[in-house]
Amino acid sequence: MKPAFSVIFLTTLIGAGQGLFLAYYSAEWLVMLNMLQPAGSDYTTLAASISFLLLVAGLLASFFHLGHPERAWRAAAMWRTSWLSREVIALPAAMATVFAYAVIRYFGLDLQVLTLGRIPVSLSTLVGFMAMLAIIALFVCTAMIYASLKFLRQWHSPLTVLNFFLMGMASGFTLATVLAVATSAGPFGYFSAMAVFLTLAALMSRLFSLSRNLNLRSPSTLQSAIGVHHPTIRQMAQGAMGGSFNTRAFMHTYGAGVVRLGRRFFLISGFVLPLLLLFFSEADSLLVCAAALLLQFLGLLAERWYFFIEAEHPQNVYYQMIS
């Protein structure tokens, strides 16, 4: 497939925003359950705001993918059948709940609404819980857009969902680590340890899907495509001399060398280097953590680019030679 850059930015930006919110929200629960020391001043407003801005940035990027962005509201209609439609519902739901969470925290509207056992649950925790559900739903919807297309064998796997989740979470926790260092607030140890763990998990899962895709063959051949059962078929003309949508939208034009380089870059920059930097980072090493974040984000952009490159669309068998 040809990489769709608006979609690459959409999925990576919202992934980081979703991961960031879950990082801070999970830390809040751990503090509530006395498993983590409360650290410093209130940092969650800042974190939730940045998470919200990342979701907004992703949404803006997605509009560039549309031919008619002014009709985008229609996309919520077919949620019963379309994962894209479900994403269109889950994304604003996540944005609204994360925004509400930030507002409640900023204006101190935090009333205690109920108690779970002996733990007091405040309004922000409740809204945050709804945000968490929306964010998890968003992870699933975003990934299922690709994983549900059974003709694109490289995408049609539960690994796609796992990869999207783990990469979003890894970049979110890395961002949380940077924020914790920059504001000197927040549980740096928890964030950096989780960032290392999630980056490692994402790397393993991605390597697993890379090896799965290595030997994947499409069941569609030129023989089944035109229904002629002869071992030797050669295309003489594809019906259009100046190319067509079919030759522009489903094939990438990068050489094998560029593709190989892209794969190496995303594995090293997206996973290996951030792992090392985060592993050796200290609570005051802002530069190291920021470098890890930057490298990881660039690496994940390249990963999403490669995600498109490696998917082979069956319609390409009809378009092998212009004339």
Partner: protein
């Protein structure tokens, strides 16, 4: 339930592209507005087409066959492009099985084209909406047309009658009869999309020619000529004139 479809006979298609040009002409002049036509007289013409003829060479020289292969939307009975559409712009008509796009609802996200294994959908680069073969739905029910012309324009324009139009769920239709008689098949059956359009395979054609077909046994000229035939060495009128 009706399922309108095309049956395309690869045995008779000569690859003249009449279906391609008539399709473009009819659909670019219709209500939905023009279809993109970029650089039409230049070196690299490109644009939106609902139907194209591709050409394949099968076999190794000199034992080859040239197959002209018209390709358009197959109006699948289980169309994978329809459920993925987020707006409901893509739909399959329950009354006749035609898969259509509502150009006023389409947001141009291209997701349906990712979901179609045949590459049957094209984005219109000016209108920014997804377009595809409509099976000339604007002809099929138009009572201002003579009944014989209420057919897809590609079917009407085909000079070799390689395109048969009909309801493949009606076993008595021309389309069903052709599928049953000539072993009509579907494209990429491995995906389970059940395309409504079928293709008829290449068939070995042999005609038994008997001597009496070429030379009539009861040729009256033979009797009349008897004894009067001019010597073949003499120059005849046919040899000296040039009409």
């Amino acid at each position: 339930m009706t399922q309108l479809a095309l049956v395309i006979d690869l045995n008779t298609c000569v690859g003249c592209h009449a279906c391609v040009t008539s399709c473009k002409e009819w659909n670019t002049s219709g209500d939905a507005g023009p279809m993109v036509d970029r650089n039409p007289y230049g070196a690299e013409p490109t644009g939106t087409f609902f139907n194209r003829v591709q050409t394949f060479e099968v076999g190794e020289f000199p034992d080859t066959q040239t197959i002209h292969f018209p390709k358009s939307c197959l109006h699948c009975e289980d169309p994978p492009c329809v459920p993925v559409c987020p707006t409901g712009a893509s739909y399959k008509r329950p009354e006749d099985g035609i898969v259509l796009v509502d150009y006023d609802k389409c947001i141009g996200c291209e997701y349906c084209s990712w979901a179609c294994p045949y590459g049957a959908r094209e984005i219109d680069e000016q209108q920014k909406v997804m377009k595809k073969c409509t099976l000339c739905v604007d002809r099929l029910y138009d009572e201002s047309l003579p009944e014989a012309e209420r057919k897809p324009v590609c079917v009407l324009s085909c000079p070799t009658s390689a395109r048969i139009y009909g309801d493949i769920h009606d076993p008595e239709s021309d389309a069903s009869r052709a599928i049953n008689a000539a072993g009509g098949y579907q494209l990429m059956p491995e995906w389970g999309t059940q395309p409504a359009n079928h293709y008829l395979p290449r068939r070995k054609v042999s005609i038994a020619v008997h001597e009496e077909d070429l030379q009539r046994v009861d040729n009256p000229l033979r009797k009349e000529d008897r004894g009067q035939r001019a010597p073949t060495t003499r120059t005849t009128l046919d040899d000296s004139t040039s009409w």
